[in-house]
Amino acid sequence: MPELDKQNGTTLGRLLGRGSVGHAEEESGGRMRATIRIPVDELVFEPRVLVLPHGGDLELELINDDMNTHCAVLPSNGDSQFIWLVNHSRGKAHLNLDGPGYYWYASRTGNDEGRGLTGAIVVSGEVPDEAKLDRPPQPRP
């Protein structure tokens, strides 16, 4: 339903968690890089789901192409990271995420986070072998 994936279609904002998927690039040392943009009048982060190949350090470039001001509160070990993104601005964030699972981030200004500017960072992979249970391989869903 395209009307669910736009501003002021069926919904007032747009449903969270839908949309494009992007992948971080991995440098030789394991550090990761990615770029996330906010397109004009879309109220979404693009890509809306960013997939990392593993946990670790991510250098994220954030570009606001929109005609309005937004921000981002991003997950990172130690402290959440905040960046203010005025119209047509560009910044970066250094994040550390340490394991499998996914993490939401959002623009907290106005109700951006309810209207679509909520994105996900997915960390792929497994925990280190030494942290795993000593048992035979078990079935997964």
């Binding site: 070990n77 078990q138 997964r140």
Partner: protein, 565 residues
């Protein structure tokens, strides 16, 4: 789209705490905290150095400035709040479950979703904060919670929802080392408050509702190097493995998680771990046998992680009767004993030198699941053994006492227990095991009506109930006993209360605005005694008191004291 040259430079993202009144640094008070000081923690009652206040787990303080004669003047001195920000796991369940640690005027406390704070214990001012990024989709049976931190050698130790143990610089809150000790893809997580023993930090795993194999782990506190892991379900061929089916892999999914902090006897050199339910919780047909070391106290040598003794409180549990609640160490008639109020409704007094039974008595009015006689013989009576057949029993899966802790006062010689008198109906539904999917083997409804609770005082020498302070609802928070002849206890409806330790008389109460499911502690600063009370109604309310599922949430830490003048 704008061209690159037109972009305004937004700079680099900054830590959120730089946009707050956080000081950023705490005094170096924990540098001198070491094993020797924790051994004698009760000799410095102005501090609350370790999870239970001391290794014995008594949750008793020799402080007596606040006492039966003046407690009616107790008033809030300060309040700390953090609240919830953004989308985080278990968003409807977050709350405090911690016991605040206090060292020479600085409080260290962990919250939900990876938060750790250092506070000025006299004013509540936030000195530093640490936030571990927790996956939104981590498996959590029982809420976005954490039971607190340990401190030593200038470090603060905390476990995380995604099963890490992290050492923080106690002056800055910055991470020094970080070790993964559980597998989130297997359904493991971590909520336990660590314990410092010798040069190690001791932790345990959560995940007993997901068919994991429970374990405790020890790491070098300086480096994070692993020292040992002790599995609480034996592998085939190991001692105790004959209590599991000889064919299949029931043992590999057997549970027995250690998600509350152990107590420790330095003379016997034994850690007393408390283990959780077997898996699947209610379907015993796939795991015939006693299922060691589920629902046990397990005495472990801290130097090598080897099991030295055990006592199983509920053999072949099919009621979800974790025994993760504390084993309180005390002396009686010259004997080294331990006292334990189990989910199954019985109060056990053991000889802790070998974990043999001295006395067992019921501590709640309604027990229908089965019976334990004076010699410890267990006779199950009501349990979900037929597929699709609803079975009602008391106590329900939250137990006649949950993980929240009892206290023991050496001054009165009495144990004080938060009692939950609430039943449940379980309907067995066998299911296939898959990693990370809940593995209960039943559908469960906990009673909404005909429930009760109390703070009850027991004499361990006789098992006699000496007094009972009755509440209309189960009591679901840890109690605190002091030399001021007081027992403090928080209620689900928000009241924090002080009772006379000798009579149970209600002496004072304060409405905190949200229910209690944490562990208060006490300390002094410049001679003024404080009672630190983490509040907030959340966690797995549907399991221990669903009749209060719609009660007000919150998460405030309130410090009470007598007026200065």
């Amino acid at each position: 789209m704008a061209t690159e040259t037109e972009y305004v430079d937004a700079g680099t993202a900054v830590g959120q705490q730089t946009l707050s009144a956080v000081v950023g640094r705490a005094p170096a008070v924990t540098k001198g905290v070491n094993y020797e000081r924790i051994l004698k923690a009760r000799s410095e009652p102005h501090n609350w150095l370790t999870y239970y206040g001391a290794y014995d787990g008594q949750r008793y303080s020799p402080l007596d400035q606040i006492n039966t004669s003046n407690v009616n003047r107790l008033t809030p001195a300060w309040i700390f709040q953090c609240g919830s920000m953004g989308m985080h796991s278990g968003a409807s369940t977050y709350s405090f479950e911690a016991a605040p640690i206090v060292v020479d005027g600085v409080m260290y406390v962990a919250g939900w979703d990876g938060w750790v704070w250092a506070l000025n214990a006299g004013t509540g001012q936030e000195l530093w904060r640490y936030k571990h990024a927790s996956p939104y989709d981590v498996s959590l049976c029982c809420g976005n919670v954490n039971r607190g931190v340990a401190v030593a050698h200038g470090k603060v130790f905390v476990t995380t929802l995604n099963a890490h143990v992290v050492a923080l610089d106690a002056e800055t809150g910055k991470a020094i080392w970080d070790q993964v000790y559980g597998d989130v893809r297997a359904g493991e997580s971590a909520t336990v408050a660590p314990l410092i023993v010798k040069d190690m930090v001791i932790v345990g795993s959560s995940g007993g509702e997901f068919g994991v194999r429970g374990h405790a782990d020890a790491f070098k506190l300086e480096t994070g190097e692993r020292v040992w892991r002790c599995y609480m379900v034996p592998a085939p061929g190991e001692p105790g493995s004959d209590t599991w089916p000889s064919d299949g892999e029931a043992w590999a999914r057997g549970g027995a998680n250690c998600w509350t902090t152990p107590t420790f006897d330095p003379e016997l050199n034994l850690l007393y771990f408390n283990t959780g339910n077997p898996c699947p919780d209610f379907d015993g047909g796939v795991r015939e046998g006693d299922n060691l070391y589920t629902d046990c106290v397990v005495a472990v040598d801290p130097d090598n992680g080897q099991i030295k003794a055990h006592y199983q409180y509920t053999p072949h549990d099919v009621w979800d009767y974790d025994s993760t609640m504390e084993n309180i160490l005390f002396e009686m008639d010259g004997k080294k004993c331990s006292g334990h109020f189990d989910k199954n409704g019985y109060f056990f007094v053991l000889d802790r030198t070998d974990c043999s039974l001295i006395r067992v008595v019921p501590f709640v009015d309604r027990i229908t699941w089965g019976e334990i006689d004076a010699k410890g013989k267990v006779t199950p009576k009501v349990f979900p053994d037929k597929e699709g057949d609803p079975v009602h029993f008391w106590p329900g899966p939250a137990g006649a006492k949950e993980w929240t802790h009892a206290a023991y006062s050496p001054k009165t010689g009495l144990f004080y227990c938060p009692v939950q008198d609430i039943g449940a109906t379980a309907t067995r539904r066998r299911r296939e095991f898959k990693e990370s999917i809940p593995y209960w083997g039943a559908g469960v409804n906990v009673d909404l009506e005909d429930i009760a609770g109390s703070i009850s005082a027991f004499d361990p020498a006789t098992g006699e109930e000496k007094w009972r302070w009755r509440n209309d609802q189960p009591m679901c928070a840890s109690v605190l006993a002091t030399a001021g002849d007081l027992v403090f206890a928080g209620a689900p409806s928000g009241e924090f209360r002080a009772l006379n330790a000798s009579t149970g008389e209600l002496l004072w109460e304060f409405q905190c605005g949200s229910g209690h499911h944490s562990s208060p502690s006490t300390y002094t600063i410049d001679g003024r005694q404080f009672i630190a009370v983490p509040t907030g109604w959340g966690a797995w309310t549907e399991g221990f008191l669903p009749g209060m599922l719609g009660a007000a949430g919150g998460a405030a830490l309130i410090a009470f004291a007598l007026p200065e003048k």
